[in-house]
Symmetry: C3
Subunit: 315 residues, 3 copies
Amino acid sequence: MKNSHIIEAQQFNKKALQEILSAADHIKERTERNLPLDLLKGKILGNLFFVKSMRTNLAFDSAMKRLGGNVSHVDFPETFSSELVGGDFEDTVRVVSSLVDVIVLRHYLSGSAKRAAEVSFVPIINGGDGPAQHPTQALIDLYCIEKLKGGIDGLSIAFIGDLMNSRTIRSLTYFLAKYSGIKIYFASPRVLKIQDDMKEYLRENNIPYHESLDHAEEFKEIVSKADILYLTQIPKDHFTNGTDDYGRSREIFRLTPSTMKIMKKDTYIMHPFPRDYELPVEIDQDPRAVYFDLIKYGQFLRMGLLCRVLGVPVD
Amino acid sequence: MKNSHIIEAQQFNKKALQEILSAADHIKERTERNLPLDLLKGKILGNLFFVKSMRTNLAFDSAMKRLGGNVSHVDFPETFSSELVGGDFEDTVRVVSSLVDVIVLRHYLSGSAKRAAEVSFVPIINGGDGPAQHPTQALIDLYCIEKLKGGIDGLSIAFIGDLMNSRTIRSLTYFLAKYSGIKIYFASPRVLKIQDDMKEYLRENNIPYHESLDHAEEFKEIVSKADILYLTQIPKDHFTNGTDDYGRSREIFRLTPSTMKIMKKDTYIMHPFPRDYELPVEIDQDPRAVYFDLIKYGQFLRMGLLCRVLGVPVD
Amino acid sequence: MKNSHIIEAQQFNKKALQEILSAADHIKERTERNLPLDLLKGKILGNLFFVKSMRTNLAFDSAMKRLGGNVSHVDFPETFSSELVGGDFEDTVRVVSSLVDVIVLRHYLSGSAKRAAEVSFVPIINGGDGPAQHPTQALIDLYCIEKLKGGIDGLSIAFIGDLMNSRTIRSLTYFLAKYSGIKIYFASPRVLKIQDDMKEYLRENNIPYHESLDHAEEFKEIVSKADILYLTQIPKDHFTNGTDDYGRSREIFRLTPSTMKIMKKDTYIMHPFPRDYELPVEIDQDPRAVYFDLIKYGQFLRMGLLCRVLGVPVD
């Protein structure tokens, strides 16, 4: 597997992370200074999506086009043709990678991005493979945190909601563990708590963390202390013992105008979207509710990433 | 709501209409003189379609690309992602409008374009919202009439077919009422007659109109008098009392080679397509059957509109 | 019907074939010498697909974009709009061809490309119409054979597998019959043998051929003699008398590492994909297994073809 693939959070050391954030900064500067951006003119991105994902699909499409490049879309390619059998996953990747210059892959199975990278003729960017990894979203979140707070060392980050199933939170935690003075809060319903391997990983890397399960008072304390509140949806179907627990949990892990009052002035709210009950529109106008502004930072990161995997310098 | 949105026919005064027609003329001239057209290089149009519409989708896609711009497609975004709940309409618009420069929206609910404009970060062009409005199609029709006849003042226009449900006829009637010497004919089955508010609007604006319901002889007279015949499909499912009435109506409101004989030499036939029984292919070769030629005029209008909402001068 | 349409194999004489292969060569040379390729800047290709075909759709999309052109996609346009009846095939072609500069059409009915060409305002390229024709794939195969072997005269080509239903093999056989010294092998199950009209065509053109049905030993001899082995899938549902025959046939007409040993050193394997049991991944690494490398040659041919039908010189 060549270095230019973006497969999983574990592949990056701190130097690689910093280089990616720096590429995003160069794109940001070019954009803000209205410098020419057609760095990928003549290149073709293939968006190879085995499952629907409006946001990831559109965001990479837009990022590639901002760089003067083209995008070809392959949606649900399980049926290679309407008339013939088959076309297994590897052959689909071989064919598509013969026709484009870089692939963003979204698939429903863990490990698909790695399998694709083993046979692809061009770089693979993992745009989410099942419950496993979504490293580009985590890179974007890391970049947003850096831009919001001016740096990452020394920050305390609270992950709130469904910590068991969030690919992004797993990947972002890997990244954060490479910085100094980090403190992490995990606030969730008991049925959606962070998996044990993540806690073990943090202990091995000497990153202090605090886990708070179904605890309204502790949640308020975390809200008042953390520098970043990273919220996610709480999915109803994980609550097996009736809806009472679900109803209680979603009330606890919700930001309301009154919980906003106990937040610090420079604490920012992030959310990977779509949102549900946990993030009411009433707080959208608060200057700390930056979730829509961050979409633009995400584009700088995606653009920098596309240039890097294609070997095109951005500075 | 900013001025740059294109939401409904009522938002335009005559000056605004003339400016849009003039922008289309500038694009037409540039095209015919082979002048550079890449006015929207680097810009991205987002085609956000909650319902399928081959024609509107393709026509705006093509118009944007003729101007050197890019197009990103978001089809059926109700499922924001395959794995999570929700993403309400407003959030979808907020996210998409963070990633593109202008949106063409097609939706099945009345008022969707207005709701979108209230939260969008970029201009919204209403590409049809349910039974309510389809202002771009009406602008195109207005432009085509002007090009066909060399002006709009003094013309008599016959609307024929399903006048109850045609968004375009409603919008176009609003526009025509701003010109001088206009005369309007409404020729339709009784069950598909023009709604009362439109007639009231014409009376208030002193525009003479004549309504003819299920009347074969009157229809022929209208065909022989009007400067523009604007036909639409007659939908079967609005005829509740058996199919006899439907069969009779569709015979009345049909153009045949013999009705073509009583038309004036400079009367033109328009149709928003797709067609059904009302417009047989036998008359396609008649020089007054201009419905396919007009598609190119429609593109000049769409291109001018895209430039205007993006604030890019075309002259 | 204008000459610029690409509808069926029978439309090409040898001169026309050589001009197309030569156009592909010019594109190949421009690509390899990194010369500017934006020959179709400002042009729009419409991919009008009534049935799904990942490969043909993506390959033409990519080819057009490599030439600096744009692509608009119209998928499954049977429903012209969500709200109205109809839009017959001819009107769909008339509308789409008013908005783009060239159309690649894929349809499930034989003769669709010809029907489209009769009403289209722009050139039609047949991207497969039902069981009838797929001339672009056959042109690509012809070009690949020429590049692999340095010429076509004097070659022996073995068609293997489902010869009854392969549009490409039919078209390619028409092309090969125009060259000198060609010898053709047809190796297939009896239920999937080449149709009689093709054999008659070869006899009329004095092209020697040998047909081998369900014969393991003869198949090995063919493999050892032919210059090109052109494999296709063997579809199970054509074997009506139980699965025994299917099981036996798919073992016979399969390339394995041991059959590879009896192939000549300069015999190449082609396959239109997707593959099934007949082409195991074990042989992918063999230098004679060129099926993925050939995709790039196919792109040169598609690019040359797009330039030709649009009247843009490539040399």
